[in-house]
């Protein structure tokens, strides 16, 4: 199997950037995510020719055109399936999948959960703007109940998916979250996702300025975000708030946000984050926090080692090849089938 030499520092962000002019709407959150992706790739140091970026259809799925890597802009919903083929065929490549909430969770929902279950080593960037942008403003599977859109003029009558919940339901081993404006966090989670072996899902909450402007404003506005989000760090206390004086504590089977020094809560009561613990119980609790009662979690929520599908396939192929030792097709047929000679 071919391997790739990684050399952080060898490449600059510009080395991953194509000459195509970027055509997203001015103010779209995708611009920020794209720029961070170039930086994350440079930080990783995987050569551009060893990188493949596969997308489906939607605004965010235009992204491969803006990359100076190998890439495919494919068909609606199928990015995960196509990326699975790329990675299974060529484990030496670093494969990124770009999908929006419609592409990844509606038309491509089946491929999404199976890519996660199979644990194929893809870095899946899920751009979640809770709306269909390219088709001009219909509700998506992550739109809140009651969302008023062009296809739900009186509000939707259905509940949304929470992407993390799908990932855990599909037994995912890596889930991280960021917000388009949180550039450092986005870079941090992208790099971690790429370094994780197996399916890594990064949800980036992204603002659609045209059809769903401000959908994440509680989480992204400067004066509100510190109270409504918590940045999780491995091995550190789960603290948040402008003064970093709030923390998460265990409360029965759930979590509770408390202020240190109030009602007898001390720093010792605050939970320490462990993304690497195999049980996903607490990870799920953290991922389900939505910014209202409890702050929305950003950063790496779960990052657990497990054998990836592509590596397992590769190992199995090598094992049975060695065990059987056939030199070619004819050799295999002659050694395993009933044959007879005709003269």
């Amino acid at each position: 199997m071919e391997t790739t030499t990684v050399n952080p520092g060898q490449y600059a962000p510009a080395d991953y950037k194509s000459e195509q002019s970027v055509r997203w709407c001015p103010g779209c959150g995708d611009h920020a995510i794209l720029n961070v992706l170039h930086k994350a790739m440079a930080a990783l140091g995987v050569p551009p020719e060893k990188t493949a970026v596969i997308s489906g259809i939607g605004c965010s799925s235009r992204l491969p055109y803006y990359m100076n890597t190998y890439g495919m802009h494919t068909i609606h919903g199928r990015a995960a399936a196509i990326a699975t083929g790329v990675k299974t065929a060529r484990p030496d490549l670093t494969v990124w999948q770009i999908s929006g909430d419609g592409d990844g969770l509606a038309i491509g929902g089946n491929h999404f959960i199976h890519a996660v279950r199979r644990n194929i080593d893809l870095n899946i960037l899920l751009f979640n703007n809770k709306i269909y942008g390219l088709t001009k403003g219909q509700y998506s599977p992550t739109s809140d109940r009651g969302a008023v859109t062009k296809s739900s003029p009186y509000g939707t009558t259905e509940d949304p998916f929470i992407p993390a919940e799908l990932v855990f339901g599909a037994r995912g081993n890596f889930f991280a979250r960021s917000i388009d404006i949180a550039l450092d966090t986005t870079k941090e989670v992208m790099v971690a996702a790429a370094r994780h072996k197996g399916a890594s899902v990064v949800e980036v909450l992204q603002n659609c300025v045209i059809f769903n402007n401000g959908s994440h404003s509680m989480l992204s506005d400067k004066d509100r975000r510190d109270e409504h989000t918590i940045h999780l760090h491995q091995g550190e206390k789960m603290l948040f708030g402008k003064e970093m004086n709030k923390g998460l504590v265990q409360d029965g089977f759930g979590l509770r946000a408390v202020t240190i020094g109030e009602d007898g809560w001390t720093l010792d009561d605050v939970l320490v984050h462990d993304a690497t613990t195999p049980s996903n119980f607490l990870h799920q609790q953290l991922a389900m926090m939505d910014g209202n009662e409890l702050p929305l979690a950003i950063g790496i929520i779960r990052d657990v080692d497990a054998l990836s599908y592509d590596e397992a396939v590769e190992r199995q192929v090598e094992e049975v090849k060695t065990k059987k030792g056939f030199s070619n097709l004819r050799d295999m047929i002659i050694k395993t089938c009933e044959t007879w000679e005709s003269k």
């Binding site: 071919e2 194509s18 195509q20 050569p47 551009p48 020719e49 060893k50 493949a52 596969i54 259809i57 491969p64 055109y65 990359m67 100076n68 890597t69 190998y70 890439g71 495919m72 802009h73 494919t74 068909i75 199928r78 399936a81 196509i82 990326a83 699975t84 083929g85 790329v86 990675k87 299974t88 065929a89 060529r90 030496d92 490549l93 089946n110 491929h111 199976h114 396939v313 199995q316 192929v317 049975v320 090849k321 065990k323 059987k324 056939f326 070619n328 097709l329 004819r330 295999m332 047929i333 002659i334 089938c337 009933e338 044959t339 007879w340 000679e341 005709s342 003269k343």
Partner: protein, 622 residues
């Protein structure tokens, strides 16, 4: 007792083994055909499975059949059987219609018990009389009793003993057709290498079957089957699905491109997935994906990544893959799509054969979406055409749909295992360093309009492909109307020029006849035999059989225009006839059609031709 006392010589003989699904009829039939092949016979086999996995024992719906044709000039499993082996009254009832007039029946009389007869829906207690069978033509063998006596000291339990009944029938058939018991035993010894006790039991039973024939019916005629000289080499028996998988592996060896299969289980194509999954031992990667769409899409991903990429399916699955195949057309990636046709539309007749996906393969995509369509003619031809599909896909950077069908996929015949030099090298259309330096664009083309393949990992060739239209010069995405029309024409021309790279159409039969009989794909054996019989009767016909459907061989239309009458026989309502008619203005393409989920019978074709030549309809339905 059957009449006759001597040994009769036959060119070929058709034996149909029938019984419950669990009676081991396929194994008995397989061994008989392989032993015959070892004796120098040509062979052709066809299993006829019930739709149910395990229908109730002894019921009419649970009967499974396995027909073999062995001898000289064998091109089909035979219209009707010379000998019918029926292991129970249900098998007798459902299979009698496949017996030739004057053919003989071997039946287990021990199964004529009231309960068995009731399950098989007989009205009387005498099935022979009730079905109007001539008593002189049926050999009623107490198989179960013989079996129990033979194995009474074996220490086996009654259930295990009953499992050996197929070998008793096989022993009897071997006696009837003078097949050496030793060859059968050698095959069984290999099969049961890890179960010596089972081998010993089966050995006894086969001998008992042979002895029974010899001792009880020594006055009955036995047969000697003619042999035919075949090309020297090492042979094996192969069915169409396995041959398809092997042809792809050969193409992988000849192209240096590793093989990737993305697939999803579907009858009757699943055995291709099974075989390639086993062939991880040759380095193949066969992945069972979450659905048909993921099957084709993972293959497209693997193709972009530089593999010989394949997806295998049957009609309903091909429908699901349409959008993905369109992407491969647009991105101009090599992709092999295998469609093992079955009865449709919708779920249709999953275990039965048809040729009804031709139009779907040719046109079943949105937009102007040309691709190459091939069809395999026989079980062993699946190897050649799978190889061809891969060769064309890789050398012409296009998706190729290979049509096989349930009949050739499950049917088998003897096949000479090819030597490496029997097949040509396949040259992937890679972009080279010179071209890269000269400022290569992803949709630059050679003189045949074929673009170059740049594989991830190649420095300096990073590029993006996708489903959107590209600019003819820059390869960047483009919505320009004039540009689009040019690209539509280029993609069409690229596929049309494959005609320069495939064999010309060869006419068989009586080439200077006024009438040409035309077929395509899996009906070859039946059409060939029909043409032979017609010509032998003085009803002169030429024969053109198509394996390259789009593009057609360069000379095809000119050849067809040279005949007064063009008669297309196919297992649909006229899809290939319509396709040819469209391209043959001024000519009338006549038709013989059948859509019963079963292969043609040779006489349906010969009768059809005669009727058409007499000015009547080609197809008559009751």
């Amino acid at each position: 007792m059957l009449p006759g006392t001597n040994v009769k010589t036959l060119d070929r003989v058709v034996v149909r083994f029938s019984g419950d699904s669990g009676d081991g009829m396929q194994l008995a039939g397989n061994i008989f055909s392989n032993v015959s092949a070892g004796e120098g016979s040509q062979i052709s086999t066809f299993p006829d499975y019930p739709a149910e996995i395990r229908a109730p024992q002894g019921s009419l719906s649970g009967v499974s059949g396995f027909q073999v044709n062995v001898g000289k000039g064998v091109h089909t499993p035979g219209d009707e059987a010379d000998v019918l082996v029926a292991m129970n009254p249900a098998a007798l009832k459902t299979n009698l219609k496949y017996l030739k007039p004057g053919g003989i029946i071997i039946c287990d009389v021990d199964t004529f018990r009231p309960a068995d007869l009731k399950k098989a829906e007989y009205k009387t207690d005498d099935p022979v009389k009730e079905l109007g069978i001539d008593e002189n033509r049926i050999l009623l063998v107490p198989m179960t009793t013989l079996l129990k006596h033979t194995l009474e000291d074996s220490g086996m339990d009654p259930k295990s003993i009953l499992k050996c009944k197929n070998m008793l029938a096989l022993g009897l058939i071997c006696w009837l057709f003078d097949r050496p018991v030793e060859s059968v035993l050698r095959k069984l010894e290999k099969k049961f290498a890890k179960k010596p006790a089972v081998y010993e039991a089966n050995k006894k039973v086969i001998q008992a079957g042979w002895d029974y024939g010899h001792n009880t019916h020594s006055s009955m005629s036995t047969y000697r089957i003619e042999t035919e000289d075949v090309k020297p080499g090492t042979y094996t028996d192969v069915n169409g699905n396995t041959a398809t998988a092997w042809g792809l592996i050969m193409a992988s060896e000849k192209s240096g491109r590793p093989l990737f299969l993305g697939s999803y289980p579907i009858t009757p194509a699943t055995d291709i997935l099974h075989e390639l999954a086993k062939r991880k031992d040759l380095g193949m990667k066969a992945c069972q994906m979450e659905d048909e769409i993921a099957g084709v899409c993972s293959a497209i991903g693997a193709s972009y990544a530089g593999h010989l990429a394949v997806t295998s399916t049957s009609g309903p699955g091909l429908a699901l893959k349409s959008e993905g195949i369109g992407l491969a057309v647009m991105a101009e990636l090599p992709l092999v799509v295998i469609d093992v046709q079955r009865g449709g539309p919708s779920t249709g007749l999953p275990t039965k054969t048809e040729q009804t996906d031709l139009m779907q393969a040719l046109y079943g995509r949105n937009g102007e979406s040309p691709l190459c369509v091939l069809a395999a003619a026989s079980p062993t031809d699946c190897f050649t055409m799978a190889f061809e599909a891969a060769r064309i896909a890789i050398e012409h950077m296009t998706p190729v749909i290979l049509l096989t069908d349930a009949f050739i996929a499950n049917g088998s015949s003897a096949w000479r295992i090819p030597e490496a030099e029997d097949y040509p090298e396949i040259h992937p259309h890679f972009v080279d360093a010179n071209r890269l330096e000269a400022g290569w664009k992803p949709f630059d083309r050679d003189e045949n309009q074929v673009r170059y393949w740049a594989i991830p990992g190649t420095p300096g060739a990073m590029h993006r492909v996708g489903g959107l239209e590209k600019d003819i010069r820059t390869s960047a995405i483009s919505t320009d109307g004039k540009n689009h029309e040019k690209m539509v024409q280029i993609r069409r021309e690229k596929v049309a020029r494959i005609a320069n790279d495939i064999p010309e159409l060869k006419v068989a039969g009586k080439q200077d006849a006024k009438t040409i009989l035309v077929g395509w794909g899996g009906t070859y054996g039946h059409l060939y035999t029909a043409a032979e019989e017609l010509n032998a009767e003085g009803c002169e016909v030429a024969l053109a059989h198509f394996r390259y459907i789009n593009p057609l061989p360069k000379n095809a239309l000119e050849v067809l225009r040279g005949y007064d009458r063009i008669i297309v026989a196919e297992l649909n309502t006229g899809q290939f006839a319509d396709y040819l008619q469209m391209q043959l203005p001024g000519k009338t393409v006549e038709r013989i059609n059948k859509v019963e989920g079963q292969p043609f019978m040779v006489r349906e074709i010969t009768d059809g031709v005669k009727r058409l030549l007499a000015g009547q309809q080609g197809t008559i339905k009751e």
